[in-house]
């Protein structure tokens, strides 16, 4: 079982290297994070806070946009793309179960994403340390950021698999993936913000809003990272929310893990119903 999962995973990584997906994702993450770290650090100069920590706070917001996008682009092809090319027929005519196939894909894509994150963000950490503007304690924040980014990536990989298993057309799956990104990453926040502004002290703000943040993996990710930084007064934005939350911010991490598990299970159920 394990060898078959690893075979699928290895193939995904190999394809990721060959078609330069890994390279592209790494370069994008590295360029954006270096830009944020080097250009956007001017205001932190006199605050006496570790530059690494400040950078992590900015990178958390970057991850919220980029990681789901990369994950969805990796995943939308996983099922219907293989159907369209006829390779799913061939692969599943081998003695491999559909769950093994899907887990293999997920492991491969997760590693692709992890490589891009470690190298892309790691480069920024190395640059900051080398220029003497970061301390080793900030590295813990960096590691947490990368770890939770991978988790966020798994959530969106699973969403991608679900969408890919729902349709037989690759184009439809691609459109659905972009729509999912737009909704969960951009529109969801805007809607919450709008509702909050409309009625800042109502039931929504105190009872619904915190849990609505928890339900969306992108928001849960941001909440957990900014709360864990303890730098809320410095980085502003959503982090201010974490102090008024009716629950422990660690719950956001649990929510991420649950979301990933449920979405992966859903895609495993869906792929069983497919005729390749």
């Amino acid at each position: 079982m394990l060898s078959r999962i690893l075979t699928i995973a290895q193939q995904e990584i190999r394809i990721g290297i060959r078609n330069r997906w890994i390279l592209l994702a790494t370069v994008i993450l590295a360029v954006f994070s270096l830009a944020l770290a080097l250009l956007g650090s001017a205001p932190a100069g006199t605050l006496g806070v570790d530059r690494l920590t400040i950078t992590v706070a900015s990178l958390a917001s970057l991850s919220v946009y980029l990681v789901p996008l990369i994950a969805l682009l990796l995943a939308f092809d996983a099922v219907c793309g293989e159907i369209e090319r006829g390779t799913l027929l061939m692969t599943l005519s081998c003695p491999i179960s559909r769950s093994e196939f899907l887990i293999g894909k997920a492991v491969g894509h997760t590693l692709v994403l992890a490589i891009a994150l470690v190298v892309g963000y790691g480069l920024t950490a190395v640059v900051l340390l080398a220029t003497g503007t970061g301390s080793l304690s900030g590295l813990v924040d960096f590691a947490r950021l990368i770890g939770t980014s991978v988790l966020l990536g798994i959530c969106f990989l699973a969403i991608g698999y679900v969408l890919s298993a729902l349709t037989r057309q690759l184009g439809t799956a691609a459109a659905l993936a972009i729509a999912a990104w737009l909704f969960l990453v951009v529109l969801y926040d805007l809607a919450l913000l709008g509702a909050l502004v409309a009625n800042p002290s109502g039931v929504f703000a105190s009872q619904v809003f915190p849990y609505a943040v928890l339900l969306n993996p992108a928001d849960a990710f941001r909440l957990f990272n900014l709360a864990a930084l303890g730098a809320s007064d410095l980085v502003g934005g959503m982090s201010g929310v974490s102090e008024t939350l009716p629950f422990d911010p660690a719950l956001a991490l649990v929510s991420l893990i649950l979301f990933a598990g449920i979405a992966l299970s859903a895609s495993a159920v869906l792929i069983r119903r497919i005729t390749p």
Binding site: I15, R18, R85, M90, T91, L92, C94, P95, T275
Partner: protein, 301 residues
């Protein structure tokens, strides 16, 4: 029953109101090379997918190597090449074969010898994106031969191939069958199957309308042999009169005769002496036999 490689009994598949496969039964023995013929949408691919366990049947029984379709035992002994496969162009031929060998639990370096067998040894380290259509099809065939399968299902393995590549494919199929594997292949290219299959199944609108060796089917169909007699200039009319039949066509006369009449008619033609320049004899081809069986089935319906 136990020694059949593949046993299909009164299998039916419906897609809503449309009956794609209708009460089909046949039985394949080890070492047989069987061609499954049928027009587009006759139910060939549907049948393959049911044999592989990808589609549920609405009635009947299928037994692959004595097990249920889609079970691990049946999948271990079965190889399948779908109608049109597009391997990831980013991988090399060698990597594709290794990948499938691992999924099938076979020794991957041993499986690489298959690339040599299908004539891809030189291209093994090149990316699939650089392969021609024939090379990709041969790569798919190499994939299907990994681990000496007992049942090989090939869905239109020669579509889009040039004559030489096609010949290679049939040569390979012959070799697989000699090793005791059963080969079931579907095809449109009928004439090339003649000498290369032991048995023909004809599927028409989901129904199995013929199942026998080509020679037997030919006799059953009772199709006439067509003779084309090339005459001396201006002698066509005379020849037609002498033979008492036939369609005149400029310098030639065409006539049909039954199997048992063939020798008699030929000697009548040779008796005409130098009025005749040449004779073409057309035995009914697989195309004709196929058309006969699928047409008569449609008339019944």
């Amino acid at each position: 029953m136990t020694h059949s490689t593949l046993a299909v009994q009164t299998v039916t598949k419906r897609f809503k109101a449309h009956v794609a496969v209708d009460q089909v039964s046949f039985d394949l023995k080890p070492g047989e090379r069987v061609a499954l013929l049928g027009h587009n949408g006759a139910g060939k691919t549907t049948l393959f997918k049911m044999i592989l366990g990808f589609l549920r049947r609405d009635g009947g029984e299928i037994s692959v190597l004595g097990s249920a379709p889609g079970s691990n035992v049946s999948r271990q002994g079965t190889a399948y090449l779908p109608e049109s496969v597009a391997f990831s162009g980013a991988l090399t031929g060698e990597e594709v074969v290794r990948f499938y060998a691992r999924l099938k639990g076979e020794n991957s370096s041993q499986s690489l010898e298959l690339l040599e067998k299908v004539g891809l040894a030189d291209a093994a380290k090149r990316r699939v994106a650089t392969y021609s259509k024939g090379m990709r099809q041969r790569l798919g065939l190499a994939q299907a031969l990994i681990g000496k399968p007992k049942l090989v299902l090939l869905d239109e393995p020669t579509t889009g191939l040039d004559p030489i590549s096609r010949q290679n494919v049939y040569q390979l199929i012959g070799e697989i069958a000699e090793q005791g594997a059963t080969v079931l292949l579907s095809s449109h290219a009928l004439t090339e199957l003649e000498a290369r299959t032991d048995r023909i199944l004809i599927l028409s609108k989901g129904q199995l309308v013929a199942d026998d060796a080509l020679g037997t089917l030919r006799a059953q169909a009772g199709l006439p042999i067509r003779l084309k007699v090339w005459t001396k200039p201006g002698a066509a009319k005379e020849v037609a009169e002498q033979l008492g039949a036939g369609k005149m066509n400029g310098r030639s006369v065409e006539l049909d005769c039954g199997m048992d009449d063939k020798v008699r008619t030929l000697s009548a033609i040779s008796a005409l002496g130098n009025l005749v320049e040449d004779v073409d004899v057309h035995a009914p081809s697989l195309d004709d036999v196929y058309r006969h069986f699928s047409n008569s089935a449609q008339k019944e319906a």
